[in-house]
Symmetry: C2
Subunit: 398 residues, 2 copies
Amino acid sequence: MKNGGVTAAKGFLAGGLHCGIKKTTDPDLAMIVSEREASAAGVFTRNLVKGAPVVLSMEHIKKGKIRGIVVNSGNSNVMTPTAQTDAMAMAQAAGEALGAPAERILVASTGVIGRSLPVKKATAGIGRLAGLIGPNGGPEAARAIMTTDTFPKEASQSLLIGGKRVTIGGMAKGSGMIHPNMATMLAFITTDAAVSPAALRRMVRQANEDSFNSLTVDGDTSTSDMFIVMANGASGAPMIKAPGEDYAALQEALTQVARKLARMVVKDGEGATKFITINVTGARNRKEAKMAAMAVAKSSLVKTAMFGRDPNWGRALCALGYSGAQFDPNRAKLSICKTMVFKNGLAVSGSVPRGLVEKLAKREIEISADLGAGDGKAEVWTCDMSYDYVRINAEYTT
Amino acid sequence: MKNGGVTAAKGFLAGGLHCGIKKTTDPDLAMIVSEREASAAGVFTRNLVKGAPVVLSMEHIKKGKIRGIVVNSGNSNVMTPTAQTDAMAMAQAAGEALGAPAERILVASTGVIGRSLPVKKATAGIGRLAGLIGPNGGPEAARAIMTTDTFPKEASQSLLIGGKRVTIGGMAKGSGMIHPNMATMLAFITTDAAVSPAALRRMVRQANEDSFNSLTVDGDTSTSDMFIVMANGASGAPMIKAPGEDYAALQEALTQVARKLARMVVKDGEGATKFITINVTGARNRKEAKMAAMAVAKSSLVKTAMFGRDPNWGRALCALGYSGAQFDPNRAKLSICKTMVFKNGLAVSGSVPRGLVEKLAKREIEISADLGAGDGKAEVWTCDMSYDYVRINAEYTT
């Protein structure tokens, strides 16, 4: 494989550069282009307050076919008088440079809310970038979408479909929230599989549910989140239109790539020192399992306890209790790092179980709960909450 | 008025002492007794995981009449093999000492989860304390229920009902969450008004909604929260059984006392440096207004920004957007400390409004949002999130 990321699959070009939106000299503009028109599907933030790029991309993706995506970091282009026209200007600039209609271009932006985008810098940058993109440009693009991320996030995977080698690769930026940015999560995956837009839409929703929708860094949902998948068919593999063996294989691989990216986003959470997996089993159904796991994952008390290696499992039990999931505490079990701490309504040990504090020194922590109420299960990822989280987020915007 | 707190009203005795539950020499046992049987009503945690004292008190309060309440700090008596019998032993000890049936006693406990209560110390302490309680013991009781609270919380108010002076007084402990305690909030209010149990139940629910249910320190709901009101009729004022002028006057005063206590709880939030009021107007209804205000109040991003005097109003707007309240961002307005920052879908100023950073240096901050969608409104209180919040909650339990 030539490289990971959005140019791992055949027929995709990408790149990144500094066009002047960020005050530093860091790259702030990225582009992903398919050599031929690709099927596309995405999921977008459910926040009522949506950035202009989100609104534009939701509209452009409706037809299921796109040529490329242009992404800037440093300004989210949200809630300014010119936000809509600025987003459209970026799509038009990219369309002109690529010889494609503007409605075949998606736009994503991440950064401060409510400040005007320097749109001329952006459109000029798009013109230059269109001449620089190439089949090995994935890593450059991955760097250009970073904001508070401490490392670029790329992943890829290959499989055989109809005897043809199909590749899936992608990049993401983290949920880092720093002055003056919002908690934006962006993820872009490309594949040279051939998939109909309708089938791709179903696949993306499923992959999202098991990856980006299963993580929380601090519970806030940004105005600009999006996750887009492009499939251009360049592998020559047979077209996937409906569920079946090929569909299932591609779904599995797509979900795996999305999960790898999602785990990197959590590991790079602001100030994070630990990766925490919350596994809930025995809920009445999948929905309640996820509610229960998310309540534990979002609890500032649990997250600070894990930072401090504090085996205060009562906080996790408490979060399960207020999650909205229905269960009988007397039938529930709770383990931390495989050490059973609560069972049959009772603490397993009167004091802190032996060896647990030592296990909490590790970088990967698992909290597992069996609610004893049914077959529903869910896995959710989060990070701990440290002094650095407060420091990073308490800095002045000005 | 002789003093604030639970002995401000006529016919109530209270006190506190150290019985040995806490490892320090701080008081850890409190008692509130009415000289005659009193009407009583309460609200209890909605957490599925309820402490044994909560379960016992919910049962004992059903008949609407009690003689007293015994409270310990230092151990929440939750989820241990003997929790139920220990809670009952405390009620029995208090009943015997006071010459009342055990089912006329409520029990509240706050502290670590899952460790056995030293019940003999508690019952012996109750016996001693019954001999020490007096009509000026409110402040002692208020100190004895403290855990991580940095100051005791008492409030009182008087009014005339049927020409008689009626007094309402109360105490609370904060939502301090420190090793190894849970986020327990306890509040006890006494009044010498005469109120039927049924009328009192309605009043308590209303007072709670506008006070303790309108605050959040970190969003966690404890296993042991309770808010109890006792009304013994010792003022000689006429009995209130149904809505009317007297009912409304008492409701107003009760709510005011509860609000004073609730505000103290927020001001004493762990590591708090600022008191933040979130006012939402223009929601479709009261429920959505509260959802919107609570989303802002619970956002770690908003809370860290306020700690850092960061006028990053985009975070508040974002929280409104994901709160679940329905509104059109283009019709919404947002102010911080009376400075309008967002209006008609646009930032009021391209940069940070003049003077806003200086206003954010104050200890009291107001964030106001008008959603432009209806008449629903709600006020919610919270505190900022500081380094100390992380420090306090990251300490070892062991």
